[in-house]
Subunit: 161 residues, 2 copies
DNA sequence: GATATTTATATTGTGCGCAATATGATTTGA
DNA sequence: TCAAATCATATTGCGCACAATATAAATATC
């Protein structure tokens, strides 16, 4: 075994997280298929069922998705008749994303998805809560790092140099 | 708020896991860029540094990636000169994936990647261990479900009907 | 009030995830 | 021995992740 332990796949947190995340979206597939939604599309619909009439960037923030992902995704949802992508009247740069009647009606058919996921019994409630808590911590800390790294180039006037 | 709590984004374990996983592979990017590797390519190289001269399906199992992902990925790694994709002599269906000298040499340059990731300090060691444990549990249970569902169609002779 | 900067969204290109299907070699069974 | 089933890998097609770039409107600066 020429490979040192810290390079072993079995020791990688990232692989555990990566494969679990992929497996989880695969698990959603059979439940979302009747709704004609992919998993990221489901996330966007969850966001809009909470609050709609919002901008693209608002959806990106709440779903934690990228604009390059969300823009074409919204187009596909619009093509299915679930939402409309209007222009804001005050600010012509902004899009205002609003659910259609069909989009709002779909919520009823998605109601039991979380319940059916829970019924798979892949985690105890305690495990689920703890896993969510740790994943949130990881996300939050990584997001903060990204912000710092991102701001590194754009110098603050008066502080740089 | 027309949306019931179990449909709130803030209550979704899946979003926490999904966004944390994505953020984690983004965090690897600046470290893997000098090695000219993407994150999934890094996983495959980790697998090969442990054991090479193996089949495609062996790599798929150990990295938990799909054959449809791995085949073109291996072609790209071969194009970079990190490995060769030979045919097995005993079984012509099998590919035998072997590292080149350059592929083996790359391991030295990847040695400190796990250490540098740890230095980001996004999780305490205890949190990391617990998160990995829970993610492994989730993956294992979902994988078992997939096997059951997958076997549902292919009837066992003598038991079906 | 013309120019520069910022902001919001869109576009493009590469790689990955994955289901479905194809190809082609091996093994099984009649 | 020959046909059918199985197995390993490859291919195709669509959607997503994300960096880089573009566009175009709003705001700031001079």
């Amino acid at each position: 075994m020429a490979s040192p332990p810290h390079l072993h796949l079995s020791n990688q947190l990232c692989l555990a997280l990566y494969s679990a995340g992929n497996a989880l979206s695969r698990a959603y597939r059979p439940m979302l298929e009747p709704l004609d939604l992919t998993y990221p599309q489901y996330l966007v619909m969850l966001a809009l069922w909470e609050v709609d009439g919002v901008s693209v960037s608002d959806i990106c923030e709440r779903t934690r998705l990228d604009t390059g992902t969300v823009t074409p995704l919204l187009k596909r949802l619009a093509a299915k008749g679930l939402l409309v992508r209007a222009r804001s009247e005050e600010d012509e740069r902004r899009r205002v994303i609003s659910l259609t009647e069909a989009g709002r009606a779909l919520q009823a058919r998605a109601e039991d998805v979380p319940f059916r996921m829970a019924c798979l019994g892949v985690l105890t409630p305690e495990e689920g809560i703890e896993l969510k808590r740790l994943a949130e911590t990881l996300y939050r800390n990584l997001a903060r790092l990204e912000q710092v790294r991102g701001a590194e180039g754009s110098d603050v006037p008066g502080l740089a140099e």
